[in-house]
């Protein structure tokens, strides 16, 4: 990406922070009330203080561990279940209806289930994180597997490949682009749910700490929590995106688009006349 575009991105962020500082330091009260709102400076200094404390890193470690375990479980089981449902009629009949009924239930609504079912809070939070990420992965995998080009499979079958060969040489690599779409969505909802679950039932964790700070009216602390969540979420989804791009490097990618002005200028006058093709293409049956 060009330096110019990075500059625009940085300027946009800086402008938002500047506006925040302006509104809060002037205690603006125009329907929206910024009187109680911490200023950017207050949040930054609270952040600086927290970074030097052990509890901050302990909370961060807890949240990251929960999300990593929950998300990895969801990735593995979501891909497995999605592939099974797409490839096997038995799996589709056995698992399909169950999944369709369970899917609309928001993961966070499963807190009571987690409390009843699992021996510890910790496992409950991981369970909720897992459930949140599981369904997007499952659904994307199912779609991607069903949309595979049938001739790929036929080619491998006529080379003497069996079911397992088709699975590992055709189905999984071919579905990877779709699977990574699901993983990207999954990591996002996993963060939403891990933070919510921590707020409800956690001991330790960024979500728990953020809610604690709110109950003791430490507003800068709340914002430290929010910024931390934002940064962690951004970091993990970038990692998933990066892995996805690496794993699907074979996909054709459009080149970076030219600035729209240049496009308009060259595209405006239609070609004088397209010469009649010398060779008609054979019709394809």
């Amino acid at each position: 990406m060009s330096a110019g575009r990075w500059l625009v991105r940085a300027a946009s962020l800086a402008a938002a922070l500047g506006l925040w500082q302006l509104l809060t330091s002037l205690d603006v009260e125009l329907w929206l009330r910024f009187g109680q709102f911490p200023t950017v400076g207050e949040v930054a200094s609270a952040f600086g203080d927290r970074l030097g404390t052990a509890p901050y890193w302990q909370d961060l470690g807890y949240s990251v561990r929960r999300i990593v375990i929950g998300f990895l479980l969801a990735a593995v089981l979501g891909v497995a279940a999605g592939t099974a449902i797409a490839r096997s009629r038995w799996a589709a009949d056995l698992l399909g209806p169950l999944m369709e009924v369970a899917r609309p239930i928001p993961a966070i609504a499963l807190v009571p289930v987690a409390i009843l079912l699992l021996p510890s809070n910790e496992q409950g939070i991981v369970f909720i994180t897992f459930t949140a990420a599981f369904f997007p992965v499952l659904v994307s995998t199912r779609h991607a597997v069903r949309a595979l080009t049938p001739v790929w499979e036929e080619a491998v079958l006529t080379m003497g490949g069996g079911r397992l060969r088709v699975l590992f040489s055709v189905v999984l690599p071919g579905a990877l682009p779709g699977i990574f779409g699901g993983l990207s969505v999954g990591i996002g909802v996993a963060w939403i749910c891990v933070i919510s679950a921590e707020m409800i039932s956690g001991e330790y964790g960024v979500g728990y700490r953020t809610w604690q700070d709110y109950t003791v009216v430490d507003y800068p602390g709340v914002f430290v929590g929010m910024v931390t969540i934002g940064a962690l979420g951004w970091l993990t989804s970038t990692a998933v995106e990066f892995l996805g791009r690496r794993a699907t490097a074979w996909l054709p990618r459009p080149p970076e688009r030219a600035p729209s002005r240049a496009v308009r200028r060259t595209a405006a006058p239609p070609a004088v006349s397209s010469p009649a093709p010398a060779l008609e293409k054979e019709p394809v049956s």
Binding site: E154, M159, G160, L176, E282, S285
Partner: protein, 249 residues
């Protein structure tokens, strides 16, 4: 050891369809039955308009589709499913897009559990024969349509099949590339001994490549007077057969 010498040890398969009723891929059975015997090493072109069941016939021979009636056999035994014995070559987009040209050609060899080095040698030998040594590392999308079909030919033959079933393999190519590919096919099949069933809707392609031509849907089988001779294109016997095919279609 060159791929030619290994391949020539094998003999082509004898394929037969006895009163076979074909199912269409959209579930509709096709009218009539097909009776066709293909001798080992023979090249039979299957010619007919779109939707007449050419591809279905080929997939049935490959073992991918069961016939709705009758018997499909290889060397006298019924064909129960797909096997490495009968390679299938498709019209387009049949290469695995995440594998390089070489990795695509190596695939049938991997399935046959050949060692890494042997795989590489055989694949490179075939890629050389189709004139793609320099492009072996490229992904299918980085190759032209004609180059992709060359990789497909190399991939099909690398597995040392006894029969090669081709479903309009040059149908998506422009006429110039197409003629070159026909010549390459004739050249590359030499010495393999493989039986070939070549589906096309192009009369001249069928007349050039085939020893015999099976017409669908009529089921009529004609013998080609001068198979694989470019200069016999306008010979009286060829012209006569062409006229007969055109009236029959």
């Amino acid at each position: 050891m060159s791929p030619t010498s290994t391949a020539s040890l094998r003999q082509g398969a004898e394929l037969a369809l006895e009163d076979v009723r074909l199912g269409h891929h959209e579930g509709q059975p096709l009218p009539g039955t097909v009776r066709l015997r293909i001798a080992p090493g023979e090249l039979v072109a299957v010619l007919g308009p779109s939707g007449c069941g050419k591809s279905t016939l080929l997939r049935t021979l490959a073992g991918l589709l069961p016939p709705l009636g009758g018997q499909v056999t290889q060397d006298g035994s019924p064909i129960g499913g797909p096997a490495a014995d009968r390679a299938l070559v498709f019209q387009e987009n049949a290469l695995l897009p995440w594998r390089s040209g070489r990795a695509n050609v190596e695939l049938p060899l991997t399935i046959r559990r050949l060692g890494r080095e042997a795989r590489r040698n055989v694949a490179d030998g075939w890629l050389e024969r189709v004139g793609l040594s320099e492009h072996a590392h490229k992904l299918p999308r980085q190759l032209s349509g004609g180059q992709r079909q060359r990789v497909q030919l190399a991939r099909a033959l690398a597995g040392q099949p006894r029969a090669v079933l081709m479903d309009e393999p040059f149908g998506a190519l422009d006429p110039h590339t197409r003629a070159g590919m026909q010549d390459l096919l004739v050249d590359i099949l030499r010495g393999t001994g493989a039986t070939v069933v070549f589906v096309t809707h192009d009369v001249d392609e069928a007349l050039h490549l085939g020893d015999r031509i099976a017409l669908l849907p009529s089921g009529e089988v004609l013998t080609v007077p001068h198979p694989r001779q470019r200069d016999a294109r306008n010979a009286p016997a060829t012209t006569g057969i062409r006229r007969r095919i055109l009236t029959s279609l």
